[in-house]
Symmetry: C2
Subunit: 252 residues, 2 copies
């Protein structure tokens, strides 16, 4: 049974996050300031950028010395060689470099533009933010800290906006998961005519991330959303469950 009603609430009012900040306390305070209270079963969607900042995943470009490959790519594209150097150092593999667009596979296994390295909303000029080293671990730590702080057993997803291969527009997805499934599985389930369902795995945490983005936005200083009403079973799945094994991937 799916949820009958879902409520997605944006959490505003967080300060600019600095390395070492106690994100759980800041989020719990912001939730309270919204007149809300976290409950067991809520999913807390948290934008990657504030998680990365709290973990110090910040690189001032002045500290970066670009290597020969980054310099060559910068010459070909007009892009910043230092930023390209950071992207390359965060990439396990460059999937495409074309039209000035760099699609790479991160060390986590995610395929996305610029290995998730981003200069916007960095909180300081000439600075880039990297993805967390282990976003699933970040989600788990945040979940436990929220439980210690508030008593509520929530699930946590760390979200980022990724492009898609064939569709225009970016979409929010889950890059770290704690407490909820990555995939809702219908394998071996049958429709009323006895035919096995075609779509057998729904990317449920990605859909929660997408729902959360609708209240988060990009310029509203609303990097957290509460998603309430999902009836999801607790699992030990992680966002790595989204990584398609190379041998099954037709488009890499």
């Amino acid at each position: 049974m799916s949820a009958r009603r879902l409520v997605v609430t944006g959490v505003h009012g967080l300060p600019e996050i600095r390395p070492g900040d106690d994100l759980a306390t800041l989020i719990a305070n912001a939730v309270r300031a919204e007149g809300e209270q976290l409950r067991d079963g809520d999913v807390l969607a948290v934008a990657q950028k504030i998680v990365s900042k709290s973990e110090g995943r910040i690189v001032p470009l002045a500290d970066v010395v670009p290597g020969p490959r980054a310099l060559e790519m910068a010459r070909d594209s007009g892009k910043d060689a230092r930023q390209l150097e950071v992207v390359l150092s965060e990439s396990a593999k460059v999937v495409r470099w074309s039209h000035g667009v760099l699609i790479s596979q991160t060390r986590h296994g995610f395929v996305c533009a610029n290995a998730g390295v981003d200069r916007s909303n960095a909180g300081a000029p000439d600075t880039v933010i990297l993805l967390p080293v282990d976003p699933d671990a970040s989600a788990t730590r945040l979940r436990e800290a929220i439980r210690a702080k508030t008593g509520a057993t929530v699930s946590v997803i760390v979200t980022d906006t990724f492009g898609r291969a064939w569709r225009e527009g970016h979409m929010n997805v889950a890059i770290g998961i704690a407490g909820l499934p990555a995939l809702k599985r219908y394998v071996g389930q049958f429709d009323p005519e006895g035919y096995e369902l075609r779509v057998t795995e729904i990317a449920v945490a990605d859909e929660v991330a997408a729902a959360a983005e609708l209240v988060m936005g990009k310029l509203d200083r609303c990097p957290v959303a509460i998603v309430r009403g999902l009836a999801l079973t607790e699992t030990a799945e992680t966002a790595r469950d989204y990584v398609r094994p190379a041998e099954k991937d037709l488009f890499r």
Copy 2:
């Protein structure tokens, strides 16, 4: 400004849809039976399958004579040659045929498995359902019929679950749109440090479709959801705005 709070409500209790059924009346009745009322600004997410059924986009496989290509693909894969014939006839282009997976571009321009042709939940054995001929037009007709029936000016999206190039799991997306934007554009908008935002287009109707799926599910006979609380400007965009021009596509 994004929505501060979003409420997503599943609409249950629709009957099995037959060709020629008046979907607007059936949906309006089901909404009322849920104790709900449609309001101006609501987004109604409607599963492609019931739209297709109401439009008679149903093919009994007994009526299909497979051609040589479908027969060859059936030999190679063990799949049903008649169903492959229908998929090929719905495909403008086969993008990949490998591991028994057929990814094609539909005549609408969407890239998805099996050109959206589906045998599950077809309502009859040995029958496949095709995508609507023009899902944007379907959405527009439904929107106008809902307005005539209820007085409420809602937006409508027709949804289907598509796979993704590099991530496991399917996700609900918008294949037809009426009254809400496909893309939320941040082009030329700047963060507090004056840096132009990296992610400049968010696939907002796809995110609404994803949020809707969380209450719709696959086996719950809940093919409709109401998404309330979005502050989206009315546009004339269609789901064709998601189709990436071939010259910009790095993965086709």
